[in-house]
Assembly symmetry: D2
């Protein structure tokens, strides 16, 4: 299905980007979506072989096709990255929406998380040696990567709590601790971990205690303990893994940016990545709405004398879903445009809004679609239940909704001082008017109360 480009955006997409968008749309529709079931059939059902073992062969076919078509690494905007392609964040956002329509599309075009965020991070903060060793093969799609940050026994939503120990020992860092939700670490192609931990736990500034270190997956002392399931899905072979580090040693040159700069890195990497996630989620929600439309118009599914689509409630579900998807799309595109105009920092509020709004919205839309499908909606015959589970993680990943809500509330509250000034001036002007007009206000008392 062609992307719905809102009126406000239409003129801001270059002809080249429009062409790319059309190619991506076609590629998703004609190559990726038909391959979904084949991909599923290529993942072993034997639980002992689902991770660190193989990956679906069709991925390589799709990647080769995408590369040939020039549909490769489109996420990396040359506005912010030397290695990037000539696409604005706004333009790529529309492409990401298409990618979201099919679980295999992002990887097919080398645009899948967490690689994208990791590539951005290395591109932004890595030195030339680091780039050569890890960014190049990642950009080529030869290897994959993991961002290894969250920990099980602390409240990771406040990143200051992260406390895997990174101790310097001569020319090496020694890592000890356990991580979980290391997404992608189950894939046999995952060769490099970006690991966050504490190099300076005693630093009085809690934002200076953390560092990020590049750790090859096969460094001695690393064990992938198990894969976590999301609702009942294990997302093999990608996987969300618990990984332990026991005296894992890497050369000090593997540090990214420098000691104590972990916070800088995680803050820098999140902006555009969140926008990508959000736009993919818009794509997911759109597919759910399409499935709902098809289902409720199925002539074989009449209840109480009329097709489901004739029931008023169902029409409302469709209307609300359309509305909510479109509102979400505009919020995300506006945030993407704001990033292009300033940077992720200047778009902090816009990104927070998109991050808060979109996953919940998508969950609502998918849930309506599930309800419209009846029991079929919750089983493996439709992608809806899996979509829902995957979307549910996004209300937690990169910080739970509540953290972003709090941040947004605080940012908005910064206006108070200026507001108070304005309202005071207004009151002064009113009093001036009252005197000029020589009138007496019966409720002068109330007037004062208003401010």
């Amino acid at each position: 299905m062609s992307s719905e480009i809102p009126a406000l955006v239409a003129d801001k997409i270059s002809p080249r980007a429009k062409e790319l968008l059309a190619k991506v749309t076609k590629f998703v529709e004609e190559e990726c979506q038909p391959a979904e079931v084949i991909l599923e059939s290529q993942i072993p059902s034997d639980p002992s072989k689902r991770f660190l073992n193989s990956y679906p062969a069709i991925i390589d076919t799709l990647k080769a096709k995408a590369k040939k078509l020039g549909l490769w690494n489109l996420f990396l905007s040359n506005i912010h990255y030397r290695e990037g392609v000539a696409l604005s964040n706004l333009e790529y956002a529309l492409i990401a929406e298409q990618l979201g329509r099919c679980p295999v599309a992002s990887e097919a075009m080398n645009c899948s998380a967490p690689d994208t965020g990791n590539m951005e991070t290395i591109a932004k903060y890595g030195n030339d040696a680091q780039k050569k060793q890890w960014l190049t093969p990642l950009l080529n799609g030869d290897i994959r990567s993991a961002f290894v940050m969250t920990e099980r026994f602390v409240a990771s939503s406040d990143a200051r709590n992260i406390n895997l120990d990174i101790k310097r020992d001569g020319n090496e860092y020694v890592l000890n601790g356990t991580k979980w939700w290391s997404s992608g670490a189950g894939d046999p192609r995952c060769k490099i971990y970006l690991v966050m931990g504490k190099t300076d736990a005693a630093n009085p500034n809690p934002y200076k205690q953390q560092s990020v270190v590049l750790v090859p997956h096969n460094t001695p002392g690393i064990t992938v303990e198990r894969a976590l399931s999301v609702f009942g899905y294990d997302d093999a072979p990608h996987g969300h893994c618990e990984v332990s580090f026991k005296n894992v040693r890497v050369p000090v040159s593997n540090i990214l940016l420098g000691e104590g700069r972990g916070f800088e890195i995680i803050q820098g990497r999140l902006g555009p990545g969140r926008i990508h996630h959000c736009m993919r989620s818009i794509g997911v929600a759109s597919v759910a709405l399409e499935l709902m439309l098809l289902r409720v118009n199925d002539p074989n599914r009449q209840t109480f004398g009329k097709p489901l689509s004739q029931h008023g409630t169902i029409l409302e579900w469709i209307a609300k879903s359309r509305l909510e998807i479109d509102a979400g799309r505009l919020l995300v595109l506006n945030a993407a445009d704001q990033i292009d105009r300033s940077d992720a920092k200047g778009a902090l509020k816009n990104i927070a809004m998109a991050k808060i709004y979109v996953p919940s919205m998508a969950l609502t839309v998918i849930d309506r679609a599930i309800q419209a499908h009846g029991a079929a909606g919750i089983c493996q015959d439709f992608p809806l239940a899996r979509m829902w589970a995957s979307m549910r993680t996004l209300r937690l990943a990169d910080g739970p909704d509540e953290v972003h809500m709090n941040q947004l509330g605080r940012l908005e509250s910064k206006k108070v001082k200026e507001l108070a000034e304005t309202y005071k001036k207004r009151l002064a002007r009113t009093e001036q008017l009252i005197q000029q007009m020589g009138i007496t206000l019966k409720d002068h008392l109330e007037l004062k109360a208003k401010f």
Copy 2:
């Protein structure tokens, strides 16, 4: 407060429009808002003098100032109207947001409903004589007008039910029936009614039975029976009136567009008007959020040891309100832009979305602000309760939410045919792939089920 122009919109506003917007913003802030309490003091408290009697003198002062500043009739876009100003609907939308911030601002700049819709209607469908007689004084702000359509004893949300009788008798039309919610008919300056009724009740096509006739307010047989209140507010002197017509005679030349063309007229007039309403509502919601911000940061209002703003729930209210207002603004601006690019018909879905989303959203934001103000929020000391009441009407005016929801659902459902085609092709492609790859799908059965 300056308007928040979203990133997506910034480049689409001409320098001239930006200048106008700045002037409007300043005029609202410095002239209109300080005058609010004075205006209230100029409305008689004696119930027998609130309607068809006088209007607040300060209005004329403000109108004179606005005219001098060139802030006049900005609602009428020259994209669609010869008499209009050089502003796109998108540009005016941002101006309308500012107008919404203050109840007196729209009228001060001759941009208030129902005059705006009536002027658009006469400009679009009136002949030269009609324009000369009524459009000119309306554009000058010399008179006001009413749109007289809704009836009490039928379900007016289905306009085919409207049944005031309009019978031709020689060179005259004779009107008999009763209307209500004729907004503005309580104002002594209201000189002209646009009355909808049935000229041809027997027409088998229910959309050809209705006509719109221009009826001077003082035509014999017209009685303004009473004013309706809105949650206790009578909105004097404007008023929402019940008006009876007993053998009211007007020349046949007073018909607008022609007999049986009433539906055409009401459909034609609603698009941009709804956008204006929505953007004004965005302005209303923004003021409510500002008031909430000021209140919860009032250092004198600590509860349980901390200012209200430190309570997590309140921060969420602020965050959600900011988010919802911004989502609403984008939806409306996108609809306005779509009208500029095509016309109201091409923007049907976008207008419906804005019309559904914005009033409910504004009610939610205002309600949060009320709750944050405690009992002060529901009384006359703050504008919040009145805002809420006025916003509540918008979930019913121009059709209740449910009608628009239904329409939006039906419009979206038109995609089904194309969708079914696409999904069928996708399935065919999958089967082709399966054969090419010589694989057997264990769950081929499921594959089929997916479509």
Copy 3:
């Protein structure tokens, strides 16, 4: 309409109470509801005569009838009050539901706020002289009263902030300060104020600073400054008043219970009163649902070819409203029963739940009814808009929802300690089982994590 007594409650209502309930129901239906419009016609429309001037004569007629029928002071349960009638709180709750169906019914049977709470307070905390002087005429319905507590410039939802000054001067207390939302103070029959203020602002225990003093309405120094409106309604002649106290002197014998015991008093009086409010609100919501049922089944109100009641969305509104009203009724009745079994303190959580749930629920039900009525729902032709406004105050009166939510959350959290104990034992038992069975758990690690 007869009260819907839930199955769980049926056997708990004595025959005498059932008979009373039937009589009340009949009296409300046949005497009170038909008198509503007459009552309205007996309130002067001239704003200067609406307060402290007259009250509707029909009230006295209704009171006389009610007294004769023995439908008098039913709110005062003899379980807790010597002066009370032989009705449990549970039984009276069903009666209060009926009272809520009609704005005039409570007063007609001498069961209206704030008199009920004030009578309970004096009955519970007053000495014999105080009872003789004020409780007797209140119980007779000869006078009315006000509870004068809330203040405008502090956050009254935290009652410790209340700070009207009460200074002892010899044998007198001298009151200085301003109050607002003194409900009932606008009625010419209101003869006695229960005023809360600070007698000991310097007390380190913030719960010991406050006292409640009985102040006759005509004590020199008292001025009723103005009436506050609720949305657009002024609730004349009852009124929600702003009242100032300037050197108002009362004998020290007018103190209730004793100096510094204000908190004790306000905490003691709220339990059953909240239950009454809630049950009346259930009655209000029931009327709204009835009006909705009548409206959507009006054969003259077809839209798009079918009566409103055939639209799926409307049926859902009816179903949800029925469900929500019934859930609310059960919550309130259960709280009332809990008060009967223990006392208000033992029912703290139940009362909080009722107080949080019911007003919001009623607002939702009324709002649906308004929407189903179209514009008719928001004007004076139906009681819905007024109901809504009056119900909206209950999300703030006696503390905003958020305060009760917070309290309920804290009460529930007290379980944590016992819970932790239980879960620990369970884990121990699991480990014992594992050993007994001689099995090895592959995911023993996860097992630990669960607790």
Copy 4:
């Protein structure tokens, strides 16, 4: 944890039932919950061995213990069934709440779906031979059963659409068709299917076309095609199965009740079963709230300087969850009591309310608990994600919410006629009053409008 018996219910539970409830509570807490992980470890991970193969051995241990304690078949009330135990539905409802706290508890006490409904069905409609053959071993817990009704290619929420073909051929019925969501058919102990299909598709009365036939699981022609997953969970070995019937022959004596009486059967079996489901769901939601309480009070999980429980939003989650669970419990208990007082038919509205309210409520509570747990909440380390998935099915099982909403709306609408009568009388009484009092109502017009 002990069951929270609401005040309204306390006196309605017999001492014997209270003793049983206490024993059940203890058994669940001390035997069932500690065994959960052991049970999980006894289900093979190899996908080819999860169904029709084995079942966890610990189940038999638990069943033996429960039987010995007399905690057996408590679901079958002797109010309605000769074979039943001396417990009212209300009393059993409290027990079912405890069973819901642990996934293994219901089966341990032979109270698990779909066996319970099937036993009720055979007890109510089966003849002596059928009872002897199937009811006896089911009541003994020797075998299990499935209710085989839903079909994949029709909208089963309207049961008239069910169309598996049942043709009589001499002394046999021949079954042809495919079913799905046959819950329990994956268990190797499942020996008997209750199959619904059409024996008389041509009958003009669509409610007479269906019959229910008893079909032994190993009858030739039956194939269990596959197990459906629920959000990734396959619920092995129980399973939700797709089952095909190809020329499956059973003697005509296997029909239940008689040809064409299928509707009677499915309507008769649902009432108490829905109550059981609902009360178990209350138990599930209670566990989720407990887990949330434990998590947010975990001293190791501070964010931004305070434990999660100190964040206002979290306290609101706790308060709302407590409130919603308690409201749901009262709704269900009231419905159970209503069944005891009349029968399932007399409790139609109450059952519908419980069925609509409880699953959605439980989903909300669980979702809050998940959010409070962060990523831990969606994985296998806590039961929350699985609870959510399982609860989600209940918004569809036994008919989607929307069907029950519709039914409830229609039942409530039956009041309209009586209501209209009442309101008419009230109006007449008002007019009488007006005349008696000799007054003129200024707004007599409005008065009329009110009715």
